[in-house]
Amino acid sequence: MSTDEISAKVTAFIKERFLSGDENKELEDTTPLLEWGVLNSMNTALLLMYLRDELGVVVPPTGIVAENFKDIRSITKMVNDLGSPQRATVAGTE
């Protein structure tokens, strides 16, 4: 998956789940998600589940740091760096 695709997917997820669709189109790839509380502990856990289930990327505990989650640009870079995403299959459900 290209970085553009990753970025688009992450942006869409954050808009839909945490910003009620972001009707005013305020979310940019440098919006400070942590500082503004868009990503709090609950939401970040949901995002991690999305990355795992939809992009096949498991972020290790050591990767859950501010640099990796401060904005969409850093999340995209982290997902890209964590290697070639494959679709995760959960035994018994797919």
Binding site: P32, L33, L34, E35, W36, G37, L39, N40, S41, M42, T44, A45, L46, M49, P61, I64, V65, A66, F69, K70
Partner: protein
């Protein structure tokens, strides 16, 4: 699938139950109503203050499930639930993150004291404006030129703090990083700038003193940091996984004891020429108490097992915490009703169980927060 305890587990459970009954059964608390160092030392001599700490440092080397089983026996054997809670908070919310995240220097020096009972620890996370929402901390830790941190601000609810030698706490090191800008520390009580408040009056768990803790320009050397800078949220959640799983096991034990008393009472007490247990209103109440206890127990053992096996455990432990705490409150209300007027009077110790059970749906994350976690795991 095997639902039996192993021979080792059964032996440890039986020994802990017998020893706590004998040595801490209804051990009187100190003159001020709080647990004494002597009681703490007895609990430590039974291995309870170090169950899951490494054996090389005097701990029991147990995993979460075995720790829970021992705490269940403790909760069943000891009538002073405040003391049981105090030991659990020390072990699970404090010693666990020190064991897993302290620098080697501090870990080597402190863990043996935590296990032996020489060091009592308190956990201070909650603040006036940050309860369930621990991402909103106001306590700050500023880095000084020499690498030390300077802590400023006040924590509002720390069990054990008036008796503590060490305080595990969390402060904001990077305000721009939101919940990922929080860092954990273990702060020796005697550092200048640590101000522990007077014990606060509360509804139950009365032998466990709780107070506010203020940090006034308190310099904490870097070695006392827990984990990396910004990792505090994860350190805290790790400690809460252990606390939600293992502390609530003590309440399984307390409920076991309570149920036995209710059965005994319902068999003995006669009204209208019959044992009250012969009234279906009473016998079914007891059946429901049993059902809540047993289902909570299965959820809790499984949550511990997942934790021990390094599997996803957050949702399972949330379910267990929710089930056991709600059961503790419901069963305690039932017990008061079954005992009638005697249940309401203090002498029988039945109303005290209710007062000790109420906080279970609040501490270590409220029931509402557990339901949020469960809903999240369910895909909402």
């Amino acid at each position: 699938m095997d639902f039996d305890l192993t021979a080792d587990q059964q032996r440890r459970y039986d020994e802990t139950l017998a020893a706590t009954r004998e040595q801490l059964g209804d051990a009187p608390s100190g003159a001020d109503g709080y647990f004494t160092r002597q009681q703490w030392k007895v609990a430590a001599s039974l291995g309870l203050t170090g169950l899951c700490l490494p054996t090389e440092q005097g701990g029991g080397g147990l995993g979460a499930l075995d720790t829970a089983l021992s705490l269940e026996a403790f909760g069943r054997g000891c009538r002073d639930t405040g003391l049981v809670f105090a030991v659990c908070a020390h072990l699970l919310a404090c010693a666990v993150p020190i064991r897993d995240f302290a620098s080697q220097e501090i870990r080597d020096g402190m863990v043996s004291g935590l296990a032996s009972g020489d060091v009592i620890a308190a956990n201070a996370m909650t603040e006036d404006d940050a309860g369930s929402d621990v991402g909103r901390l106001a306590v700050r830790a500023r880095r000084d030129d020499d690498g030390a941190y300077v802590l400023d601000g006040e924590k509002s609810f720390a069990s054990n703090a008036p008796a503590a030698d060490a305080i595990v706490t969390y402060a904001v090191t990077n305000p721009k990083a939101g919940f990922l800008g929080v860092t954990g520390f273990v702060v020796p009580r005697d550092l200048p700038g640590v101000v522990v408040g007077e014990p606060m009056e509360k509804m139950g768990l009365s032998s466990c003193p709780a107070s506010r803790v203020r940090f006034d320009n308190c310099r904490v050397p870097e070695a006392y940091r827990l984990g990396a800078e910004g990792q505090g949220g994860a350190v805290f959640q790790h400690s809460m996984a252990w606390e939600r799983a293992c502390l609530l096991a003590a309440y399984l034990g307390a409920m076991e004891h309570q149920l036995a008393r209710c059965v005994e009472h319902a068999r003995r007490r006669e009204q209208f020429g019959r044992r009250i247990g012969a009234f279906q209103a009473i016998s079914h109440r007891i059946a429901e108490m049993k059902q809540r206890l047993e289902s909570g127990r299965l959820l809790l053992y499984r949550g511990c097992w997942l934790l021990d096996n390094g599997r996803d455990h957050v949702g399972a432990i949330a379910l267990a915490k929710l089930a056991v705490s709600e059961a503790a409150v419901a069963n305690s209300l039932d017990a008061v009703q079954i005992f009638g007027g005697a249940g309401y009077l203090s002498a029988a110790g039945i109303e005290q169980q209710l007062r000790d059970a109420i906080p279970t749906t609040i501490f270590s994350g409220t029931s509402e927060v557990q339901r949020e976690l469960v809903a999240r795991e369910a895909g909402l």
